[in-house]
Each structure stands twice: as structure tokens, then as C-alpha cells.
Symmetry: C2
């Protein structure tokens, strides 16, 4: 898999397209499912895991879930390629690290739909869409889910709903998350407003790479914490008509206020960031993210012109360690990565 997907398409969540894409990077819906007749993975023997893989492969690859699905046996995939998938948000870190029989299926070339097999649950379906597109993502994942269920029975309780390895996923098994770029609120110091608004609705606010990760590059993920006792529709409504539009509005107000009242400070930050990206000979990953975030804010507010936002989004991905090594076709230690990262950024933004 190249950094731009099979057909030169940048990965979905970094395309910068779709509704409200000035603030919303991407929308993601995930479902946790387990096949009936097999134990949860914590209790499954290696042999049973293999059987689950076979069933899943058949259901996914023959189920017409997408025009083209790619099946990747993670036990045969080199570590670097697995890290690339993590950086593309197609598999989890745990799934990359595992040693048991496991796989991932990915719709190609768009990478919108991906299904981890034998991660925490038998199946973890995910749809990512650029911009604010929670309903669209849900519609797509719902269809994929139905097509699998038309072939195999899921573990399901009339009382609780879908049964999952972790109790927080029991019920609809759904997790919705929206990745937001909130540099305006970060500068204005109002990011806590978002956290409070989210917590009031039992939503979590996390960093770029999910649970426990720091919010580098002013990228924040808002997601639901529990799934039991709420229909999918209710949850989507919370996201699409309540929390996310509110946060988008906070961010836009913060940006407008910066433009009107502190324009020169905004220009200074954005152009310094661009200047550093175009000049540095050594770049750490987190610093690159922070600087790219400032440049993106500069583009979105119009204080930076003549820089293609798609290139900035692309660099958010290609400057990650695994993508960088993939691009250069060799292993790089940390010191080498800093040099090569700086070179890549300089050349891309020249």
C-alpha cells in the first residue's frame, strides 16, 4: 500500500473534503461484532481463531460489501507495513502488535471501509469519511453489517443487544468519533469548553491516535463512551445536530475573533510555522504536526495563500514514522527520520 493508496488517493480522513471540512477532518463509525457459535477471543483457542478468520474472510470477501475489498493477513505482513496501517487509522496498535491469527479487510482504493478480524472482537467494522458525514458513514457501515449478518449469525441477546468482549460496547456495539481541528480554540484557551460540553453528554475528547494519546497538532477526537441503552439514531443525532455543530461554531467564532482582533498574531504564527517547515533540517514528528496545524489554520483563515491544503493534510500522514520509512524504502532510526522528515516537508512545501 503506498502512502496515497493504491490509485494515488490520499487516505479518506485526510482528504479535507466534505461538509464543514474547515473544522472537521473526518467522521468515523465503528461496530463491534462477534459470530455466534464461537467463544470471545479471550477464551478462543488458536484453532478457533483460525476458523473465525475463515468464516470472516468468506463473509467479507464474498458479501459485496464494497466494489473491491482487499484481504490482508497480518501474520504475514511485515512490521513496517502494519505500522503504516496504524498510521492510516485502518487498524489499531494492538491489532498491529498481535501474534494470533488475525487479518484486516480494506475497501480499495478508497480505504473508507475496513474490518479488523480477531482484534478485541471477532469483527471490528469501521467506516471513515472525510468531513462531517456521520450519517453517511453509518449508512455504509450498516449496509456492510447487514451483508455479513445475512451470511452468518452474530452473538446477540434480545435483552442486551449485540454481545461484545468489552462491556462498554454491548448493545448497539457502535462507536462514533469525529476528528476535529481546533487550533482557534487552542489559541484562545477555550478548549476546555469543548471538553465540558462533551462530558456533559457522556462523550470523550481524545488526541489524534485515540485513547491515551495527546492532542498533537490541535487534532481532537470526540467519541461516545458507552453504547448500551441508546439507539444508533439517537447517538447519530447527538453528534450531528448537537455536539459537533456546537464545537464547529465555537471554533469558527474563535477563528473569526483571531482574524478580527489579533490578525497580526495569527499571521505571525502561521507564517512562522510555514517558514520553519520550509527551512528546518531536523523535524520531530510532534513538532511537524504542530507546525502543520498552524499552517492549516493559516490557510483556512486566508492569512496564508498559495499553499495547497491537500499537501498539508498529506504531510500529516507522510511525516509519520512508518510512512516515512515506507516512502524511502528503508529502515530509519530516529535521528535519520528527523532528517528525512525535514527533507520531505521542505520539498513538499517548497
Amino acid at each position: 500500500m503506498s502512502t496515497r493508496g493504491r490509485n494515488g488517493v490520499a487516505c479518506e480522513w485526510l482528504r479535507g473534503e466534505g461538509r464543514d471540512s474547515d473544522v472537521v477532518m473526518s467522521s468515523r463509525v465503528r461496530l463491534a461484532r462477534n459470530f455466534a457459535g464461537y467463544p470471545f477471543l479471550s477464551r478462543a483457542r488458536r484453532e478457533q481463531r483460525r476458523e473465525i478468520l475463515v468464516v470472516a474472510q468468506r463473509d467479507i470477501m464474498e458479501g459485496s460489501l464494497a466494489p473491491q475489498m482487499m484481504w490482508i493477513d497480518l501474520n504475514e505482513l511485515p512490521a513496517l507495513e502494519r505500522s503504516v496501517l496504524v498510521e492510516r487509522h485502518l487498524i489499531s496498535k494492538q491489532h498491529a502488535k498481535g501474534e494470533e491469527p488475525r487479518a484486516v479487510a480494506i475497501s480499495s482504493p478508497d480505504e473508507r471501509l475496513s474490518i479488523m478480524v480477531n482484534e478485541e472482537d471477532h469483527l471490528r467494522l469501521q467506516v471513515i469519511r472525510s468531513g462531517l458525514a456521520v450519517s453517511e458513514a453509518f449508512a455504509q457501515i450498516d449496509q456492510a453489517d447487514d451483508r455479513i449478518e445475512s451470511q452468518s449469525d452474530y452473538a446477540f441477546s434480545a435483552k442486551y443487544g449485540y454481545l461484545t468482549a468489552c462491556p462498554t460496547n454491548v448493545g448497539t456495539g457502535i462507536r462514533v468519533s469525529v476528528m476535529l481541528h481546533l487550533p482557534g480554540l487552542k489559541i484562545s484557551g477555550e478548549i476546555e469548553k469543548v471538553r465540558r460540553a462533551a462530558q456533559g453528554m457522556s462523550l470523550a475528547v481524545r488526541g489524534f491516535y485515540g485513547e491515551g494519546s495527546e492532542a498533537v497538532g490541535d487534532l481532537f477526537q470526540v467519541s461516545n463512551q458507552t453504547t448500551l441503552g441508546k439507539s444508533e439514531r439517537e447517538l447519530l443525532t447527538v453528534f450531528e445536530t448537537n455536539i459537533i455543530p456546537k464545537v464547529i461554531e465555537y471554533e469558527r467564532v474563535a477563528r473569526r475573533s483571531l482574524l478580527e482582533k489579533r490578525r497580526v498574531i495569527l499571521e505571525d504564527r502561521a507564517h512562522r510555522a510555514l517558514g520553519l517547515l520550509r527551512s528546518a533540517r531536523l523535524l520531530k514528528s510532534d513538532e511537524a504536526m504542530e507546525l502543520l496545524s498552524c499552517v492549516r489554520l493559516g490557510i483556512m483563515t486566508g492569512v496564508i495563500e498559495k499553499v495547497d491544503p491537500a499537501k498539508v493534510n498529506e504531510l500529516l500522514l507522510t511525516t509519520q514514522p512508518a510512512h516515512l520509512q515506507k516512502l524511502l524504502h528503508r529502515d530509519l532510526d530516529q535521528a535519520e527520520r528527523r532528517i528525512e522528515r525535514a527533507t520531505l516537508v521542505r520539498n513538499t512545501l517548497a
Copy 2:
């Protein structure tokens, strides 16, 4: 006076010419002199100060000290112009602030020779030369001194030598100082080596604007602390054959070591600095100095090409508050200066 002197010449100490100018910015020699028959200024009445001014003006302007001398009555010079003279190292801050009758005479257009009248002593003669040129500076000041003495008697004691307002200047009344650019030693953390070497010879190491000033932009002044009991020749020898060549060598070794062992770090620092200078929309004076210092190091070590070092030196001066306001023909508050400073730097280094 324009920022480049009357004939478009940058001020002497920032020309970047002369011996060892990769490390030595400028050499300066100063003499403290008082006319016989008049009290020291601390005890002089306003009327006596006026008389001293008249005598000094005659001796200086009719003494053929230089092809052309400019006489400036500081009581009639606007505050901004006085600050410009301070930034050009032609008068002291105290002399700029004073309210008593006082003046300065400056050789034009080269600004090498300047004579403050009624500062701490009746006369403070100064010669600045680009690069390491302590002997040349001394020869010039010695000649100017002789020409004044051929017209008026100085306060002189056969036992102590020239008498001065402050005891530390009694004797030869000479102060030698050399301004050094030591970014290599700053980065390698060896700047203390210089301080120790200097202190061992009763020399002081100070910042850019003399006593009590911080060493911004990695610019350090090495100067003698006392004048009594040592001939001019002995003092010049200490500077020219002992301390300064030693420090120059330390600095060159540090730069070579950076180039050989940490080249990418050096490149990173220098190019980041250049990138920031070319991008920032707001620049504080000290930050500008620091960044210009990094760029100068980059040029001197060859990791930055295609940037004219003369422009960098020039900016060390033109980014100072008074020069900036002089250039823009208006008063600027601090916030405005940061904007205009950034604009000037961007345009100059574009």
C-alpha cells in the same frame, strides 16, 4: 544621520571587514581626558561646562583630527536622533539622556572617530574599526589626542598620569574593547572558557551594549577594567597577541567541530533562523538579534549560501528601536515596532 551614514556607508563596527572578521566584529579604543584649569564635571557649574564645550569645539573642529568632523550639540538634538547615536555606539546612554551642555563630534562619513564632550569626563575620545584592528585604532586615537593636546593642556599628574573623573580610568585613561561574535562557543557551551581566560588577565566580558548588558545575539565585548600602571603598548599587546587570538581560535575550533560532528544541527539552526526571519510578522529586538546571529554563523561556516553577510550585519543595527523609527520617519510604540521590524527584515532578506 541615516542608518548608513551620510554617504550610504554602514557604520564601521558592522561592516564585517578587516582582519579576523569571521569572529571579530570590531575593535574599539577609548581615551578619557580632562582639560587642565577646569573642575571635573561632577563639580563644574553650568557656566564652566559651557566654557569646556567652547574649548573642545575649537580644539576638535580646528585640529585636523579627521578629513571631516561633524559637531552635534546634543541639547538641540531630538531624543530619537540621540538614541540613533547610542545604537551606532557613538555616544553612551548616559550622554544621550543628560541635560547639561554637552556635545559629540563625529568623523564623517566613516564614523570611526567620535568624541563625547562633557560626558563623564570633559572628553571621551573613541575610535572604532571593523575587524581586529586594535593597533590601528590606537594609532588613530593617539594622533587625535596629540592634536588636541597641542592646543590645550590636559589634567595630568607626573605620578598618576592622566587624571579622570573615575579612578578606574586614571593613568593612560585608555579602554580597549573588542566585540566578538561567539555563536560556536555559545552552542558548545564553552563560553565560560572565554570568561575565565579574560578574568585571568583582569579583562571584563560584557554584552552588546557594554556594562550590565546581556550578550544578545552571541555578541560579546572583551575590555580592560583598569588603566593604572600599565602602558598603552602593554595593553594593546595583551589584546592583539594574547587574549583575542586565543578566543578567535577557541571559536574557530568550536565552529569546525560543529561542522564536522554536528553539521546537520548547525544547518538546522541556521536555516530555521533564516526561515523565521523571512516569515515572521512580529519580531522582538532581542529575538531578531539571536536569529541574525544564527544566520551569520551559518554564512561564516558555509551552511548558508546566497545571503549577503553585509545585509545581516546591517540588520543588527537597523532593527534597533531608534533606527527603525528613523527609517520610517515616525514614532512607533513597541507593538508597531515589532511589526515594522519583521517587515524590514523580511524585505531585506527576501
